[in-house]
Amino acid sequence: MPRITVTVDGIVYEEEVEPRLLLVHLLRDRLGKTGTPVGCDTGNCGACTVMLDGRSAKSCSVLAVQADGSDVVTIEGLARNGRLHPMQEAFHAEHALQCGYCTPGMIMAAVDLLKDDPDPSDEAIRRGLEGNLCRCTGYCNIVRAVRRGAQEMSGEGVRTS
């Protein structure tokens, strides 16, 4: 079995994995990183979005072996030094979650979105999050949260992985 080295939320893991093992199952079943959930099996919903070497990736669509040598940040690693990431705070402040199942992926996708466009319009936010589905909120408050997160982050610089 291939041996991989992958850093997840600041910890270096060395794992022997089947070549077919999905990154999300490595995270959830092997490393206990259950903060990243699985919402579909076709790469549509985005619930499993993580940062892979600084960019968002749907961890159900990445093989664990492809992540060899990579740095992965999950929702569990987004807060630093006891401080929530501004995007996490923004989702709370704007009531941008209800059941919360899509939230980890949505937050990671939102953080990534701001890397390309630190001050996105509402339309750009909606387009940018098209690959992350939410069934509870109707997205209005998610858009507000991303806008708020962007404002917070512009004040202190983009701080992600």
Binding site: N44, E76, H92, G100, R135
Partner: protein, 816 residues
């Protein structure tokens, strides 16, 4: 690297916004509290069912029928059994003696046909996706591998896919007893008289397409036993109902069965069910003595999570020339799918009381026939019968307006119950306690800019603009707060509709609220804290809400039907009052006064007219110490309440939708959407707004995007999120929402429920708008979902305009 982040810290960092209005100072109810639930949800520290890992746990995977209807002639599991990591492989036959039949708790008529429903098929399969065999293995991948090694021979039988054909003579049968499950009738007033010589009769047939609820968390089940007692973790809305039903189905005694709903990622009715997988996981852990886990894939879920809607509605309205409705007939065929699940037959019946909507009429007649087909069973999906009814009446009223050449808002005004007429007993027999349709509608029209949009519409029509503007109106009400137990009994439902709460004042003055509701996104931990904080005079932060575990919260009726606040929230309030009654006696004793002279305010009991008082925290400690209590006073400050409502609650509202329809491509764009809802008093406006937003999104989903499609052989074609389209952020506009507040008179909080309102209102608002845009083309209906193809075909096939106007043509060249 996990940091300690708590809700308090989050709350401190975020200033309260007044976007949703300022509450009364010092009151928690009405305040836009940020949710307590969020702290774990935004940091990935939730516990979803699939997150649970138990020592020695095995993984379950199900082999599912690829045939819509077939006899199972042979199952060979031997190759699968020998694969690495496989602990066991079972077929339906292996569990035939103990798996029982999945329950239906709502036999709507005396003569209803309720077929046997084995959790795993034994002799015959009746829909694609029905479980045929299962593998138990050491990990998910090995279980999936072994499924491929199971051999099944099927003898194909005829699928039954169309409800009308299913009822025809000579149709192949889904079950021996035939394809009709029941026919349920209801009638009020003299319908014959209402239709006799009616100046206007509107007759329409609407198709409520089959929907897939699509909660973001796929279902998952973990079952374990210590050899005597069993614990089942499930992604369910109904841990309490489930415990009772599983005990009855499996024979595991109720007192030895604990059911836990951990964090649950949405339900929308789809997790109001007793599933084959829940039963089988319990049986597997009993047989193997090991914990087992099953988690569905999305594709598996689209096939086997119960579907919603799927009704054929024949609607007839009789009216006067001035627009006044005389009477109405609703004749339904409701697709049950292959079996009756927990409340399958009751869903269309719930709608029976809503076809008259907010309107006065002299007569009403309702008939519903439940039909078996070889498809996934249907059951509750957000609104459950009421969206279908509301769609039908709101579409039909628009048709009436068009027929009469009247404004659709005006026709509604001429028929609706005016605010002076409440309480009002409708032709369907419900007594609406309160409402103000005029106020909500006027507010919505103003926010929407109705007249201006009508002017723009006229202009676009004049110009024969290829992009036409349509305006859709939906003035809905719904029956919420399911339900008074006596009413459920009269409808042959198998249980009551009460809700339970326990409130415990702890020795340090903190408060535990135990609720029988089972939230899965609704924010009960926050809203119940607000109710208890106000009632007990304690800080919001000092309240914890416990739920979703039959050991922790042993009594409840769970969460569905917009019932939680209206019944469960009221139970919390009443339990707080009972605790305070006890505390008042203790305070009187400690203050050497009569209980009648004790006032309660801001968490302190004081002697009227003096400064002497005891805080509720002091009383909590005194009761705990129990050193000096009144004669006969039990040393506890806690109370239980089981609240059974006397009536339903009736939220209402007016939703207005403007769409731009590109008549050349059929593409619809929602230009603006205004919702003014009246859900009575509001405990947390932030949560209410969120529920409305999400509800509207799902209603729009039905109107424009979503449909479960079976092919002519009974294969589901929409098994993935690529094929079954739920709206993305890019598909939806910003919603404009506002509220009017007409308190419910039927409960102490004055609340009405909000969980389903948006979904109920939105679908007809959007479809009315689409049809309104296409009126000049002679189009009078577009079947849902109103996809570009359907709209394009509707225009193409309309063959010209009712108004002698065929819209832009190549020759005329519409403006671009």
């Amino acid at each position: 690297m996990t940091e300690q982040i708590d809700a308090g810290m989050v709350a401190r960092r975020i200033a309260e916004s007044d976007r949703l209005g300022s509450p009364d100072p010092g009151r928690e109810i009405g305040r836009a509290r940020r949710r307590k639930e969020d702290a774990r949800l935004i940091t990935g520290r939730t516990l979803w069912t699939d997150d649970i890992q138990l020592p020695g746990m095995l993984y379950v995977a199900f082999l599912r029928s690829p045939m819509a209807h077939a006899r199972i002639t042979r199952v060979d599991t031997s190759a699968a059994r020998n694969q690495p990591g496989v602990a066991a492989v079972y077929t339906g036959r292996d569990f035939a003696a103990e798996q029982g039949s999945l329950p239906c708790a709502w036999p709507v008529t005396e003569d209803i046909v309720i077929p046997d429903h084995p959790p795993m098929a034994v002799e015959e399969v009746r829909y694609v996706g029905e479980a045929v065999a299962c593998v138990v293995a050491t990990d998910r991948y090995k279980a999936a591998d072994a499924l491929e090694a199971i051999e099944v021979d099927y003898e194909p039988l005829e699928p039954v896919l169309d409800m009308t054909e299913a009822l025809a003579e000579g149709s192949p049968k889904v079950h021996e007893a035939g394809n009709r499950s029941f026919t349920w009738k209801f009638s009020g007033g003299d319908v014959e008289a209402a239709f006799r010589d009616a100046p206007v009769v509107i007759e329409r047939t609407y198709v409520q397409q089959r929907l897939i609820p699509t909660a973001m968390e796929p279902r998952a089940v973990v079952a374990t036993t210590d050899g005597t007692a069993f614990t089942l973790y499930s992604s369910t809305q109904i841990p309490h109902v489930l415990r009772v039903m599983l005990a009855l189905t499996t024979g595991i005694p109720e007192h030895l069965l604990r059911v836990v709903a951990p964090d649950v990622g949405g339900g929308f009715g789809s997790k109001l069910q007793v599933t084959a997988e829940e039963v089988l996981c319990l049986l597997l852990t009993r047989r193997l003595g090991k914990p087992v886990k099953w988690t569905e894939s999305r594709s598996e879920g689209n096939l086997t999570v119960h579907h919603g809607r799927d009704q054929l509605q024949r609607i007839t309205l009789a009216a006067e020339r001035d627009g006044r409705i005389r009477g109405m007939r609703a004749d339904l065929l409701a697709d049950m799918g292959a079996y009756l699940m927990l409340v399958t037959p009751g869903i269309p019946i719930l709608g029976a009381f809503m076809y008259n909507g907010i309107y006065k009429m002299d007569a009403y007649d309702f008939t519903c026939t439940g039909v078996f087909t070889t498809k996934m069973p249907t059951d509750a999906y957000r609104g459950a019968g009421r969206p279908e009814a509301t769609f039908a009446i709101e579409r039909a009223v628009d048709e009436l307006a068009h027929e009469l050449g009247m404004d659709p808002v005006e026709v509604r005004r001429r028929n609706w119950i005016t605010h002076q007429e409440f309480p009002y007993t409708t032709i369907a027999g419900l007594t609406y306690d309160s409402g103000n349709y005029e106020a909500a509608t006027d507010r919505a029209l103003a926010l929407f800019g109705y007249d201006k949009l009508r002017a723009e519409q006229a202009d676009r029509r004049d110009r024969r603009d290829p992009v036409q503007l349509g305006i859709g109106v939906s003035t809905y009400t719904e029956m919420c707060g399911l339900a008074p137990s006596r009413v459920l009994g009269s409808l042959s439902y198998g249980a009551g509709g009460w809700e339970h709460a326990t409130v415990r004042l702890l020795p340090t003055g903190k408060v535990e609220v135990v609720t029988g509701t089972s939230p899965h996104g609704q924010g009960h931990e926050t809203a119940w804290s607000q109710i208890a904080a106000d009632a007990m005079g304690v800080p919001f932060e000092d309240v914890a809400v416990l739920h979703g575990d039959t050991t922790v919260a042993p009594k409840g009726m769970d969460t569905y039907g917009s019932r939680s606040l209206v019944i469960g929230g009221v139970a919390v309030l009443q339990a707080c009052e009972k605790v305070k009654d006890r505390a008042r006696k203790l305070a009187a004793h400690m203050l050497e006064a009569s209980p009648d002279d004790i006032e309660f305010s801001g968490g302190t009991f004081s002697v009227r007219g003096t400064s002497a008082g005891k805080t509720i925290q002091e009383l909590a400690l005194a009761a705990f110490a129990a050193h000096d209590l009144p004669e006969g006073f039990e040393p506890r400050l806690d109370a239980d309440v089981t609240f059974d409502p006397q009536n339903f609650s009736f939220p209402h509202g007016t939703h207005l939708c403007a769409v731009e329809v590109d008549t050349e491509t059929g593409m619809t764009k929602i230009r603006s959407y205004v919702a003014v809802d009246d859900v009575g008093n509001v405990v947390n406006p932030l949560i209410v707004e969120g529920q409305v937003h999400g509800g509207i999104a799902q209603g729009i989903g039905q109107a424009l995007f979503e449909e479960a499609v079976y092919d002519s052989e009974g294969n589901l074609l929409t098994t993935t999120m690529t094929d079954y389209l739920i709206p993305s952020a890019a598909d939806l506009p910003e919603f404009v929402t506002d509220r009017t507040e007409t308190p419910a008179t039927s409960n102490a909080l004055g609340v009405k429920g909000v969980g389903e309102a948006g979904t109920i209102a939105a679908t007809p608002a959007v479809v009315n708008a689409v049809v309104d845009a296409l009126r000049p083309y002679g189009v009078r209906d577009v079947r849902m979902p109103c996809s570009p193809e359907r709209i394009w075909r509707a225009i193409s096939e309309s063959g010209g305009a009712a108004a002698g106007w065929a819209g832009p043509t190549e020759a005329e060249g519409g403006e671009r």
